[in-house]
Symmetry: C2
Subunit: 222 residues, 2 copies
Amino acid sequence: MIEGVALDAYGTLFDVYSVEQKCEELYPGFGQRISQTWRQKQLEYSWLRTLMGRYENFWHVTEDALRYTLAELGLAADADNIETLMKSYLKLEMYPEVPQALEAFGSRKKVILTNGDLGMIEPLMNRTGLNEHLDGCLSADETGMFKVRPEVYQLAIDRMGIEKSHILFVSSNGWDVAGAKAFGFTVGWVNRRGLPPEELGVRADYEVTNLLELALAIEEER
Amino acid sequence: MIEGVALDAYGTLFDVYSVEQKCEELYPGFGQRISQTWRQKQLEYSWLRTLMGRYENFWHVTEDALRYTLAELGLAADADNIETLMKSYLKLEMYPEVPQALEAFGSRKKVILTNGDLGMIEPLMNRTGLNEHLDGCLSADETGMFKVRPEVYQLAIDRMGIEKSHILFVSSNGWDVAGAKAFGFTVGWVNRRGLPPEELGVRADYEVTNLLELALAIEEER
């Protein structure tokens, strides 16, 4: 039934909150707040820019989000600090179960489908060795839009040549889960933070707490 | 130069956080967190539904956002409480300077341009008497999309018959300010909460702390 797997990257394979320590080092006492607001604004800007029809790539959006975050918290947006924190986005920690889980998905085609442009996602894949477990990386950047636009999800179908309900889309982000399910994928929600589902009129097909659990559930159904 | 004024409603004319007291009554200790998460989720859902192409009106989105909020905070979504809190959205407090400010804009055409559907905005206008100061209310509901889509801002041009740079669009919401400026309006930001500007590549033409201040600035330039 499931012939291919398309995986979100940020939050799903890589921990976007692993920048917190570096934030705390540079701005003592503010690590957690910077990390959380930064992520929130990064997402907001991706949605708003897509709605406005004023696309800039995810690296650009991520830096804009960081600048806003520092301003909102009343912190100095020192150029060196900005550069250091942006570089930390190229060194996000991978969730520990990811390589084993990717193997457990077996011989199915596996791709990343991410908002990140290749310039920011490829360093992560090389650094963690994930590229060896995957058949490629599809970036929203090709469409000039971000998720949850259908054009972005369509990339997976075009590249894998698999009918959409036979593609398992995997994300830890509730909004991404909703977008992918509305698009028509079979969807697995890796609910790492134990959040309730987003109230957007659709539900994930699978809800798990980590990626390996999902891979094993899919294998069991074969 | 400015021939017409289009005003956002929620956050700009009416205080969306004025529901906090009712939230606190029903869920002691959680008033502020409910009020803030509810607003955040209401906006997120408006953006995400527009991106997904799965429009539901703002009333529906507002109730969905409330349900999510209660679930996230681990609070019971009792049907009576939901009804009470939704009704409080029809009784939001108006910011005190609004009627005087609208008069200070003089004989220019003045309309509301809101995400709210007429069923939820008209009770507020009637209750506060604002309808007497305005030439009408345009709702995003007509377009089946929410701000910051250009189609929504276009409503003001179509209805007022004024060229867009001669329309002053007014909002307290930074994201709405960015959307309206990207669209091409002259934009006044009523920065009620003293926030930094959103980093979306555009800036408001005017930044003020309340609506009367803006009306006086515009009058002075005549």
